[in-house]
């Protein structure tokens, strides 16, 4: 149930909205305002008792309640003094403009131009409310992709065309070549990803734009199969699977950041200000690279043979320096 504050906020937008859209349907208005139809009816009944001060019958806002309840159609009159909505509040202006500036970072060409023009006009309309955002009081950094890559990917999405990608996979240290059918562009955790049906993997894959080394627009339509459904990213980009290997790792103080950076199954404080974490590992090559990078600050406790294998790899790497030592 809405409280009076929320209701008044809605009514101040609802009145000008209904003046702009005479004969609007209750259901449509409810969807637009994100409430249930019966809430809109309740709102109309409140408006019915509102009007000019010292209200006599003729001074009240006129609403055809029968039409609203019966045919589901709204007619509102006699509310000229509420012809325009309330100005944007500071938090609304900042949230909207920050969202638009973030959107700007992932659009290209004419779309980006439209976003830029919208931002300029809304900054003016927001006036003082946006002044709090002078120099951007909120900012979402989106890692820029090479302009020609962003442009081609945007064109493929708009024109529903297939793409050929030269794509780096750092976790396996390889560069791959593949054809993909673009589905959407996603920004998550400050990076832009192309979600596409990968014809090599025959599955939905996310490709980080800054890891696309080259891209070619193919003269073929994008045809993701019916089973290609967008992934639910509400829990973040990295979604460990239960089938992945469960590794136990000791992190000395210089490696404690790992526990914050990657999704873990458990984190335990241990002696010497170190941590013992369990995490799911989809690819042991990734874990090996991480352990080598951390240079002894991380130790794989389980599986033990994986720890041994990484130590062997490090010894092998050292042999290249034998002649220098």
């Amino acid at each position: 149930m809405s409280n009076a504050r929320d209701q008044v906020q809605r009514l101040l937008a609802l009145v000008p909205y209904l003046r702009e859209n005479d004969g609007a349907r209750v259901d449509d208005v409810a969807a637009e305002f994100g409430v249930r139809p019966r809430q809109i009816i309740a709102d109309l009944k409140v408006l019915w008792f509102c009007g000019l001060p010292g209200a006599q019958m003729g001074d009240l806002i006129e609403i055809d309640i029968d039409a609203a309840e019966g045919e589901g159609v709204i007619h509102l009159n006699n509310a000229d003094y509420l012809a325009r909505p309330l100005r944007l509040a500071a938090d609304e202006a900042l949230a909207l403009l920050t969202a638009l500036r973030t959107l700007r970072e992932v659009t290209a060409g004419q779309d980006r131009d439209a976003v830029d023009r919208a931002i300029t006009k809304l900054e003016t309309a927001a006036g003082e409310a946006a002044a709090a955002g002078e120099g951007a009081a909120a900012h979402v950094h989106v890692e820029p992709a090479a302009p020609e890559i962003a442009e081609t990917v945007n064109r493929a999405l708009a024109g529903q065309r297939r793409l050929h990608l030269t794509y780096d996979v750092p976790s396996r240290d390889e560069t791959t070549e593949r054809d993909v059918d673009p589905m959407r562009l996603v920004v998550s955790e400050g990076r832009t990803y192309l979600e596409a049906w990968c014809r090599l993997a025959e599955d939905v894959r996310l490709f980080r734009l800054d890891r696309i080394a080259a891209v070619k627009l193919l003269d073929l339509p994008s045809e993701p199969p019916p089973e290609a459904t967008p992934r639910d990213l509400s829990n973040g980009m990295f979604q460990p699977s239960e089938h992945d290997l469960l590794a136990t790792i000791r992190l000395a103080p210089p490696a404690r950041w790992v526990a914050e950076y990657y999704p873990t199954e458990s984190v335990k404080e241990a002696a010497g200000n170190s941590l013992i974490i369990k995490l799911r590992v989809a690819d042991t090559a990734w874990l090996q690279r991480l352990v080598l990078r951390l240079g002894g600050a991380a130790t794989v406790l389980e599986p033990a043979d994986l720890g041994d294998q990484i130590a062997t790899t490090a010894r092998e790497a050292l042999t290249a320096y034998d002649d220098q030592l």
């Binding site: 409140v46 008792f49 938090d91 439209a114 979402v140 780096d168 210089p254 200000n273």
Partner: protein
């Protein structure tokens, strides 16, 4: 009950909005439905609370003297030019992007604020288009407990006090900050502002701030120094520009990211290339080279070589 209150609040708005001059409290009590039956005391409380709630919604209720000859007689009004959203004309392609903007925030209160802003624009006759740019989904979340209080503090320019724990440190310290802005970098939020105790510009990661953020004093207590651009302050989070170059042998088909940013790649002996890799911090580069294991061999400079050897020996369990 809540419907009656909504009626009273809206009637109060209309009363103050249509008035040509300031309206006295007595007059308001007379003409706004819902105040009349109250005792003096109850009316005073009710009226004060109503004004606060309306101001909370961003409605500018002004107070002033009604008659210059009787300066003790005060009243209230809402100036239409301050109350109303100014005229804004958007071209169809400009209006269309608003629909996408409304889907950006994956955080309840910000999604609500954006939706509410878009609704006001729609109420002003702007037609958005849900299907525009439908293949673009920029998502911005905020799961840190400190986000909500800090966002509000930035918007209202209120000083905050919080406990902050430095990376790797067990103890936290109390900080008092004038929060100028809030920034997301690779999915992590930071607050930037003037640290009152240290008298300097500071940036704090929200995940290192407890959820217990307290406001200090009133809203609007500080001004952000002119020319401040938090976007440029954030660039401190980006890796510094390379100043040196290392020579690294790389096995063919390996060391993808080193190759990608190499200044030059020369063929070396069988199955190997020699990369000229720019870098700013020898330790950071050493980490990356070590992560390649036997597929990368650094030739120099010496500090990068030392960093790589130290790491590999430590993982191999070989004494240095």
């Amino acid at each position: 009950m809540s419907a009656r209150k909504s009626e009273r609040l809206l009637n109060l708005v209309i009363c103050l909005l249509v008035a040509r001059t300031y309206v006295t409290k007595e007059r308001i009590r007379e003409v706004v439905e819902g105040y009349a039956g109250q005792t003096d005391d109850a009316f005073e409380k009710m009226f004060e609370r109503d004004k606060d709630e309306l101001r909370d919604l961003g409605i500018p209720i002004e107070m002033g003297t009604i008659d210059k000859f009787f300066s003790d007689e005060v009243g209230y009004r809402i100036r239409r030019d301050v109350f109303e959203l100014p005229e804004v004309h958007l071209e169809p392609d400009e209006a269309a992007v608003l629909g996408v903007a409304a889907r950006v925030w994956q955080h309840a209160s910000l999604a609500e604020a954006t939706t509410s802003a878009v609704l006001k624009l729609k109420a002003a006759g702007i037609q958005t288009d849900q299907s525009a740019l439908s293949a673009i989904e920029p998502h911005v979340g905020a799961s840190e407990p400190a986000f909500d209080p800090l966002w509000s503090a930035v918007v209202s320019r209120t000083v905050v006090r919080f406990e902050h724990r430095r990376s790797g440190a067990a103890e936290s310290t109390m900080r008092t900050l004038e929060p100028w802005g809030i920034v997301s970098w690779h999915g992590r939020w930071y607050v930037v502002g003037r640290d009152r105790d240290r008298q300097a510009t500071r940036m704090f990661r929200l995940s290192r701030i407890g959820g217990n953020v307290k406001t200090v004093g009133r809203a609007g207590a500080f001004t952000v120094p002119e020319g401040t651009d938090i976007r440029s302050l954030v660039s401190e989070l980006a890796p510094p520009r390379p100043t040196s170059e290392a020579k690294v042998r790389a096995r063919a088909g390996c060391c993808v990211s080193l190759r990608r940013r190499a200044n030059a790649i020369e063929p070396y002996e069988d199955g190997w290339d020699l990369l000229h890799v720019p870098y700013a911090d020898s330790e950071v580069l050493a980490e990356e080279i070590a992560s390649c294991g036997p597929d990368a061999v650094v030739e120099g400079p010496g500090d990068v070589l030392d960093g790589v050897l130290r790491r590999l020996r430590s993982v191999a369990g070989v004494p240095g």
